[in-house]
Symmetry: C3
């Protein structure tokens, strides 16, 4: 496989120099690889959100993309740094559950623990493995260094799991959780389109205490300021206020009940 | 024309995965095109601000740049997706007024409606045409696919217009509006340098209720903490407090009156 | 030297079009140079923070990198625009102290004042030299234009100095300052690892009024919510609350006293 693109996803933000330094390290090792930011604003330490985002984004990238995913509250402790090879991609991340949701849907070729110090920075800091471990390993992998040289084999049973996204189906309702809300205040839930009954577009529904006419197609199906539910661009149920902020109406720990007649 | 650069301008922010997914889609179609972010922090749904920014920025980019501009409150409704070809550039945007201010100053070669489904994503979401329509079409255009293949001819009379920027000239004053304020709290007004009297640098002026000595050249013409008016880097009148925030002194809906003796 | 990468560091933020326009200008002059953002969120006008960040980041970038550093409160006044050539890099910045901390550790080959108008924008605004002076000069330098063509020789004695980072060493303590706090609320101090006593990891310490057991290796050495001090990824003493915000506990002007028995 020819790896020509590296995608970065972290909770480092863009205000500090962390992401810039990672890009410098990669450029130093392989000036020919392209680097794309998926996002650096995962909620700090929110490993599950990172996993959800990754699961719903990787397919938009070309075959031969290396994903470097760093949301890493236990950096510098004993937790392993791992790399999962699938048919089309490489995924590098701390072994903390971040890659769980991928395992459910991708065929795994090989998993390694990144432990060959030759492919670490000369001095590895205790608090920034994004730069000193992952960017270095990713850079070398993009240059064609083999996975087996970067580290040793790692058994899939040792890959840490995040808690599953909560979805419970009942006769006339589905209950899910809020995964996160986006820049517009739109709420992304754990309820997938496939969790809804067939012909869901014809149902009259309620979301928690709010009566809604139906599941809409898009924002402009309601008036400015009105609440709507719709299937978002990642195929999960989302809740929005047209040109407003639905996130002001729901506490993040609230469970979302979609009820129909 | 050889299209080698794609510029993105949206109101999607960088905190979410929207922009990252668009870049993935483009990379998948044409790994050789360069992608530059103009900004992703247009005020949400503010089509006029996007138009103003674009009109004052496109000329800094090289011939053969494709601009993908997505501020799109009516996404998924009937509104068309259009592409305007000028002598040097392509501009893709929803047909909602975003491209109005360009029409005033650029010679248009051709306008199309992006309606050839072959150059859309396989499945087009209802809420994210930035990824499923515009990034795909832009990617193919950068690969050399002809405009006529992407969509059908679209009459210029059907291109939606945004309200003009308000500027009124009087004997001893000009009245304009606040277009937006920037990261520093500096206020960008709709009053262009050309709207001012000749030798404007010699005038004693007032801005609304504030007495100012004159229109300054730059921030350091006044003391730290003092208010100043100056011609900004886009050639519009701007108002700042040196190392402070002018945006705290004016409500965004206030009209700006520049008065001289 | 072949200059293949330009690194940008500014206080312009990413919300406005300033950085996008700079990238357009560079792309127009040299479409083959790679541009990497170090950060654009230096605290507005904080020249010392920019200098500190640069000093601790440049080494992560490859030989032949051009750094364009614009934190420029006196833009448009008489202050010079300079370029410092070292063995491996070029550094462009306003002559306002931003490059001070580099001078202490890099061997300088040559310094010029960027004053050849041929390598400025055709029209130079008074308030945006990032675009009209630095991006243009950097673009041409990356194309192989010689330093001597960009401007005239500038004596090192004329390079403005920022105030040194405050560090005072005593028998049983070191006193430093807060340089800035990062996205996570972690505090970066001016106290370098080398300012600490040997075997500092065995000391019992206090930070101001807070009793700490010792200088930790990493966040997970303490419980969630607990305060810790550690040597950060730039080798300076940092203070954090695990998965919390240390910056809420210290006012930014506070001096940091690290005291041991």
């Amino acid at each position: 496989m020819n790896y020509s693109t590296i995608v970065l996803m972290t909770d480092f933000g863009l205000a500090d120099v962390y992401v810039g330094q990672m890009k410098g390290v990669i450029d130093k090792i392989n000036p020919n690889v392209k680097v794309i930011d998926l996002t650096h604003d995962v909620q700090p330490f929110n490993v599950r959100q990172a996993g959800f985002i990754l699961k719903n984004s990787y397919k938009y990238f070309c075959q031969g993309t290396i994903f470097i995913c760093v949301v890493d509250p236990e950096v510098g402790s004993g937790r392993e740094s791992i790399c999962i090879e699938t048919e089309d991609y490489l995924f590098l991340a701390p072994n903390n559950g971040l890659l769980t949701y991928l395992l459910d849907e991708l065929r795994i070729n090989q998993i390694i623990k990144i432990d060959n110090l030759k492919y670490n920075a000369n001095e590895v800091s205790n608090t920034f493995h994004g730069r000193d471990v992952f960017a270095v390993a990713g850079g070398y992998l993009s240059k064609g260094i083999k996975l087996e040289e970067i580290g040793s084999s790692f058994d899939i049973s040792l890959v840490k799991k995040s808690e599953s996204l909560m979805v419970r189906k009942f006769a006339n309702k589905v209950v899910g959780e809020i995964v996160y809300s986006d820049r517009f205040g739109n709420i992304v839930t754990s309820i997938h389109r496939k969790d809804l009954p067939k012909e869901y577009e014809k149902l009259e529904i309620r979301i928690n205490e709010f009566e809604l006419q139906k599941i809409c197609k898009t924002f402009s199906d309601v008036k400015v300021g009105e609440l709507l539910a719709y299937i978002g661009s990642m195929e999960y149920l989302e809740i929005a206020v047209r040109e407003g902020r639905a996130s002001d109406l729901f506490r993040v720990e609230t469970s979302i009940k979609l009820i129909w007649e």
